[in-house]
Amino acid sequence: MESITVTFKLNGKTTAVAIEPLESLRTVLREHLHLHATKAGCGQGGCGSCTVLVNDEPVLSCLMLAALADGQEVTTLEGIGTPPHMHPLQTAFFDRFAAQCGYCSPGMIMAAKALLDKNPHPTRAEIAEALAGNLCRCTGYVAILDAIEDVVTQMQEA
């Protein structure tokens, strides 16, 4: 198949990339653009480790054709914080030991960000509901929920 060019805003920067028409957004992010925070888990929409934001909505990037991102705004974990300037969610995950292998963390943080951007004061049950599509094999979720609740509290106090 002939390659096509898609152009989208990636982490605030206009990005054009030549892709195969049927490639997933996840493949394009990881393999063409070398952004590896977005994880390749199941590839079937079952684990949430590939979660990114498209126009601020959480999306499973393994199930979205990259071609459909044309003209859209895509945000990955790399776009919300860097080691010297971590996003409050990243800091909270760090402080709460909310990662063990860390494979789920990028997807968890992106799903949590999508929730907090819409609903800055969620209850613990609402947080759990928002993360229900993101599997974690390691932590048992408690530290993850604690970390996100910490950010909610910080935002209330700020």
């Binding site: 079937q44 509901e129 408690v142």
Partner: protein
């Protein structure tokens, strides 16, 4: 037709390490000209935090800050042999090997420092990367200066080798006894469940546990193991199977749609207390914690189900179908 509440208890003694013909692990430590130390291990960090606890142990044994230790894991070509990360053995085995390596490196460091400071090595104190002469704290230097001198003036390495070996222990032909493990950790879990006798569904309401884990090197990460073990135990008890429609093996699982594991919505209330009775042979009294934590919840949940509805389902996972079949069988027996 109703929901029934039940409570069950179970306990486990969990061995640290194993012994299939001896169980060794090695470690190498060396100092860079920066005064930073590298620990080379073939052992793997699975996410349980081995790199962190080993950096803590190495820093403590060397007498340097935690931040000046780098732990490099997982490459069996470039690091000395390790039997592997399993049997809750890594912190115990690797930690012991690292303490041995750190002692040798520390001695090499203090030998160079002694020459530099014109003092006897046994009179030197090394704490948190600072070195001074006992009783004369104004005569001081630090690891960075000594590392530079070792490299560029003395032509000496500051390094250490370590190994920990759990000796092979064969069976005593008379008694059948052997000494398979190094130490044992202990846990007891109380599970509270709600069983729906109409749908067969089991909901775990609460898991309350006590864990005796020896000395904790990193309590926050011990807690991480405990919480995740509780959830994984619940998951083994109620959800996980690769053959959900056994005995029809062709209906095996293909995805997380059939191979069910808990989500953030499924977790019960989890409470735990930790007791520390240091082991005699672990590094600083460590015992293995990881795998044990997933064990006691399982029989505790099965016992709680019996307490709730009076049937034993001992074939895991306890799916709604198995609960309903067991209830039906019992009602046929009693009528």
């Amino acid at each position: 037709m109703a929901k029934h509440y039940g409570r069950g208890i179970a306990a486990v003694n969990y061995p640290t390490g194993m012994n299939l013909g001896g169980d060794p692990t090695q470690a190498l430590i060396f100092c860079q000209p920066t005064g930073g130390f590298s620990v080379k291990l073939a052992s793997t960090d699975l996410g349980q935090g081995l790199k962190t606890v080993i950096a803590q142990i190495a820093a403590e044994a060397l007498g340097v800050p935690f931040d000046s230790v780098i732990v490099d894991t997982g490459d069996t070509d470039s690091a000395p042999h390790c039997m592997g990360t399993f049997a809750s053995r890594a912190t115990h085995r690797v930690g012991n090997a690292v303490i041995m390596a750190a002692n040798e490196a520390r001695k090499a460091l203090l030998d160079v420092a002694a020459e530099e400071m014109e003092a006897a090595p046994e009179d030197l104190v090394l704490e948190n990367g600072e070195i001074y002469v006992k009783g004369a704290p104004e005569r001081k230097t630090n690891v960075f200066n000594v590392a530079l001198a070792a490299h560029f003036k003395h032509g000496k390495t500051i390094s250490g080798r370590g190994i920990y070996l759990k000796q092979k222990s064969g069976l005593d032909p008379e008694t059948g006894a052997c000494d398979p493990d190094s130490t044992e950790a202990h846990a007891t879990t109380v599970a509270e469940v709600e069983v729906d006798d109409e749908t067969g569904e089991v909901k775990v309401l609460r898991l309350a546990s006590a864990y005796e884990v020896g000395r904790q090197i990193n309590p926050e990460m011990v807690k991480g193991q405990i919480v995740s073990g509780a959830v994984m135990g619940m998951s083994h008890a109620l959800m996980e199977t690769v053959f959900p429609y056994y005995p029809a093996l062709d209906h095996h699982t293909y995805s997380f749609g059939e191979y069910i594991i808990p989500t953030a919505l499924d977790i019960p209330e989890i409470e735990s207390v930790v007791l520390e009775y240091p082991s005699s042979n672990g590094p600083y009294g460590v015992k293995g914690v990881g795998e044990m934590t997933a064990n006691s919840p399982i029989p505790a949940i099965v016992n709680a189900i019996y307490d709730a509805v009076g049937v034993w389902v001992t074939d895991l996972p306890v799916t709604p179908e198995k609960v309903l079949r067991a209830l039906e069988e019992r009602s046929l027996e009693t009528h």
